[in-house]
Assembly symmetry: C2
Homo-oligomer: 685 residues x 2
């Protein structure tokens, strides 16, 4: 099936033997003993990772020591055994947060990796291994690391039949044929990958909870869930489940799921007790309610506060939390109705409820108000609910960005979202400062994302899409890392430190989102994909449908008028500075022009080009850029192992062809509609 020892499988945890003597000489003096200051499943993972990593890179087997002698790597927590307290600077208590750690060396060639908790130690070990992988030099080490976000989560969208909704890397790692796969080693390897980049929470079943998955919270499956939770737990990752809001009916035989009904409330309380009996460290639940035909409190004329608070009360005694998705909108819209605007929906539904949610409810908000498009505005909900916990939801799965067959590296997109100034507390209130809890007194907050992994040997379908998973984790840990830093780390850990390889792959990745945007949906208008599976160009694919996703192109122009003055008023959901920015055609950024305005094809962009010429130019350019991507990769052939070289090349070849489809269909569509020829007279059909 797959080769655990293959380069594809090992992702960024390659730990290749260090060939460079200057590098190994730098490290070897430190690598003799290992000493654990405390034992726990997480500490044992930390030890195992360290021992295996060192063995793999240096062929050195660290020997276990009982005391701190020269050349010892000491792994300890602030609460390590008393006998080791002399090695621990307790003033760190003030500097480290729950998952933070310190790494430092001393004059006896010892290395101290100290966490506030055992999880910090594990993160420190992975950090230390990454330093070696990326050939950082050792003597300079003495630093404190704290993750900026408290919740650093992944949502798997796995169904128990083995499929993955919006999965582009094979079938589920967890399920097949309506039961658990039982390949616990692979799940452990997945936990290692996630933990190594700081992920600390996972919900592993699809937010669309169908009949079989509803039963995950019953004794039929809870022992298996507990097994998975144990594996993740040993890597510091807390397990959550997506639940079916109508469970009291389906599982409990009740005739209602009304959140204010006493029987329903009691059912959930009993259910929470049962779940925690099996999984004492269970994280909580993830809920998609009243969205795209999923059940929810609206059925009973209750609010989303009523619905989520009921669950929160049930989980509260056990320390569990409720992640409640804000992706709620009318998915049976009449395309003829131009006043309804799906972009408004989340804000319209949730903003009025600010302050009504329990403090263990967290609203989960997609980065944009639509749905993970290649380009869209940032959700105006960020910062708009000072009294309600928020997490930001990204999509690592490339649903609308090439489905892991196209190279589209999303870190630069996510950076833009994180750095977007909401003005919630005046200038300088970026999204990242909202969701990391530094603006408002959130009890729970952070970042979550739809995962891009599956049971393909390389985890992510496209080997280079591993970079999105890696980068996502790194960004949740520290949103201030630059795209360049993250990319370089990933390339070095994955493909080694050859400068040409690093430079080329790094540049390939960093430009790929813009390239993808160039040959797909222009100027922020989004969609233009085939319905249902969302792959490939179809300009009118969603134009006459019920999903609220339109471009309104006619013979004169294109775009969605979301202004207050003449449109749907969506711009008014932002804080004033952003309202002004987007409302005004002169200040609205080009890349979001058609997201906020309907303009003639002859409208002149800030670039000086007309909209129509921009469309033609970017689409021709996009294909040329993809061809360049392929050329650059081909040039690396001698420096990349053949498994990865070939699999990436195959995808790039497909991308070249498929980007031409995109180019030609989009250009032809707009030429046939506008009648305006390309200034450069290139081939349009």
């Amino acid at each position: 099936m797959y080769k655990r020892e293959g380069t594809e499988y090992r992702s960024w945890l390659q730990f290749d033997h260090i060939q460079d003597v200057t590098v190994s000489e730098n490290y070897i003096p430190y690598l003799k003993h290992i000493l654990l200051g405390v034992e726990s499943p997480v500490m044992l993972s930390a030890k195992e990772e360290l021992v295996n990593g060192i063995s793999s890179m240096f062929s050195i087997n660290l020997s276990e020591s009982r005391k701190v002698e020269p050349s010892t790597i000491f792994l300890g927590t602030l609460r390590s055994h008393e006998e080791f307290q002399e090695y621990i600077d307790l003033s760190l208590e003030l500097e480290l947060n729950e998952d933070g750690y310190v790494i430092k060396t001393d004059e006896n060639n010892c290395i101290f990796i100290i966490g506030k908790t055992d999880k910090g130690v594990l993160y420190g070990v992975f950090h230390f291994l990454r330093l070696i992988q990326t050939h950082r030099s050792l003597p300079t080490i003495d630093f404190i690391e704290n993750p900026k976000n408290q919740i650093r989560m992944l949502n798997e969208w796995d169904n128990m039949d083995g499929s993955v909704e919006r999965g582009y890397a094979g079938n589920s790692l967890f399920f097949e044929e309506n039961r658990f796969v039982g390949d616990w080693n692979r799940i452990k390897d997945y936990a290692r990958m996630l933990s190594s980049v700081g992920i600390n929470a996972i919900a592993f079943n699809n937010v669309n909870v169908h009949e079989q998955e509803t039963k995950l919270i019953t004794p039929e499956f809870l022992p298996d869930v507990a097994k998975v939770a144990e594996i993740f737990g040993a890597y510091g990752i807390q397990t959550f489940l997506s639940i079916n809001y109508a469970s009291p009916i389906q599982l409990g035989g009740l005739d209602t799921a009304d959140p204010l009904d006493e029987k329903v409330r009691q059912w959930w309380k009993d259910k929470a007790k049962e779940i925690y009996h099996y999984i004492p460290d269970f994280g909580g639940v993830l809920v998609k309610a009243d969205s795209e035909h999923r059940p929810g409190p609206f059925t009973y004329n209750r609010t989303h506060a009523d619905g989520s608070n009921m669950l929160a009360e049930a989980l509260e005694p056990f320390g569990g939390i409720v992640l409640w998705r804000c992706f709620v909108y009318n998915c049976l819209q009449d395309w003829r109705d131009r006043s309804t605007d799906r972009a408004r929906a989340a804000y319209d539904h949730f903003k009025p409820l600010d302050g009504q949610f329990h403090d263990n409810v967290v609203l989960q908000i997609k980065n944009g108000p639509m749905d993970f498009q290649v380009r869209e505005g940032v959700s105006p909900l960020f910062g708009a609910m000072p009294n309600t916990n928020q997490v930001l939801e990204f999509q690592v799965a490339q649903e609308y960005t090439g489905q892991q067959r196209h190279l589209c590296y999303l870190i630069p997109q996510w950076k833009e979202v994180l750095d977007f100034d909401t003005y919630a507390n005046g200038p300088g209130t970026p999204v990242k400062s909202v969701v990391d809890g530094s603006q408002f007194p959130y009890k729970y907050c952070g970042i979550t994302a739809v995962s891009n992994s599956g049971n393909d040997e390389n985890w992510t379908g496209h080997t280079l899409a591993q970079a999105n998973l890696f980068g996502y984790g790194r960004l949740t840990w520290d949103p201030d890392l630059s795209s360049e830093e993250i990319t370089e780390e990933w390339v070095e850990a994955t493909f080694g430190t050859d400068p040409e390889v690093v430079k080329e792959i790094k540049e390939m990745l960093l430009g790929s989102w813009r390239t993808y945007e160039n040959y797909t949906s222009p100027l922020g208008v989004g969609w233009m994909v085939n319905p249902s599976h969302h792959y490939g160009p179809n300009v009118d694919g969603y134009e006459y449908d019920v999903w609220g996703t339109y471009h309104f192109a006619d013979w004169k122009g294109i775009g969605v008028d979301r202004t207050i003055a003449t449109g749907t008023g969506f711009t008014g959901q932002y804080f004033q500075e952003n309202t002004d920015l987007y409302e005004n055609l002169d200040t609205c950024p080009d890349e979001l022009l058609l997201f906020f305005h309907h303009v003639p094809y002859t409208h002149q962009l800030k670039s000086g080009k007309t909209v129509i010429q921009h469309i033609y130019d970017t689409h021709f350019e996009g294909v040329e850029q993809v061809e360049k991507l392929k050329e650059r990769w081909v040039a690396l052939e001698s420096k990349i192992d053949s498994d990865r070289f070939k699999s990436v090349l195959e995808r790039l070849e497909h991308q070249v062809e498929h980007s031409k489809e995109w180019r030609d269909i989009i250009n032809t569509y707009f030429y046939r509609k506008s009648g305006i020829p390309d200034e450069q007279n290139r081939r349009i059909y």
Copy 2:
């Protein structure tokens, strides 16, 4: 599951008790005894049908007689027992064809139903019962009936998993869960329906033969096939199977299916012998080869003559025939390539092979060169291959004509095809005269069709779609029957003879095809449906796809230029008179204008309207017509049993809503593209 006694189930074989005394008095004197001149399974079916029908309509149990006494219905063949030869006019030998019969009365109130073979008797019995159902008066009876077509066939598209490809009436009657359903009674009832309208052949598995269905010709399933064949056989219907051209590989373990390979030829010979061992009256095979990813002789650089002749040779010793579909085209076309024309494909592939086929090979040609659109040209292959057997293929299943959720009665469409003058033997060579064998010395010919039935209680999803199945059978028997005659027969047999009911339903049916055309794809251009499932409007659904199905609409105009002068040259495939007719914009009929020409939206039709105004007008009109259909049906409420009234009403209500979707999407699409407003300023979005 379904009520065998329900009005839905009984379709046109209602045989309601005759309430009208003047009618029953007319018949009763004749209805006392029944006498069979010969015994066979088919004769026993004839007797059973007659006895049951008379019992049901008159509450009279015909008693069996041993001799022709007064008030006897005598069922006999030209080869009846010698003792009855005095009642048989042997000069009929010259007047009756294989399935023909005579019905006449004599002065002793006897009725003679005499066939050349037992099948003729069965058809005669059904005819006689229909006369009663439709209250035709008796003393005038003395006539000879011969079917005009030799092959009168249905192709079921049933898969062994129980699905029906392009099935709109529930699951398969034959299969479920990869085996036979085993409801032999229902299959018998189906045989009764088909036989009653003259169908004499059936292939009951999908022409797309997948892995499991390939095994139908193995001992694992041949006993079940034989059982089905026995049931159909007793109703004069011969059983065929669709086969997988690559069977020698899949079943036989050979490494090739090359038709000129001796091993392959022997394999098929042995296979034929095996099949006929189980089913001595097996009809033969139906083959879709080298089409839409099905295997075929092209794989081995052989022609379709090579491929079909090999099978023909294997079947020939047993009297079997090969139905070979001409639906062969490039289904991976590049939409950018405007010179390739799918409409040309069948003619280009097959015409050059005329004369190379064995005389038990029959080419199966769809009515149009594309694929069962609401309107398209007639296939130019008809009459173009004087030395090759041909059958015409219709689609009773309403794949592109509302999928049995919309009312779309197709008899008028089929009549147009049958009456289309090919000019193959000069003026007056209509398609019907080609496929009935009167133009060329075909050994086998006739009409076949994709069936519209399934396991819905009413067989056809839409109860009024039963009329398409009924009418199809009647037309294969006699293409000269008028649409009006057929429709009246069906309504009377199905809903009784109330004049208002007959008039209203007849008119509803007769106008429904044109109505459907009005609100869907205009002026012969076709498609504009959602890809894959083909339901509902999507103007660009196939515009940028690989299927060769384009409309080329731009800001100026629309249509496919298939002329010799400036287009794909498809018009040149017709005989000269039709080439001239279609080549010339002035003579090309309006309803096929966009099938043959690309014209500006402002082009004036023969109706005086511009193309764009025609589109707007017909689409508004079409919806109004559907609303009228519903009104007419509602007005019949007191005269229709509630089961059928409600089920039809439900579909008409859907049709009203869905036709508005069609109207608005088509009109909006063309308004947004052309910028030309509706002269009447109606609402376009």
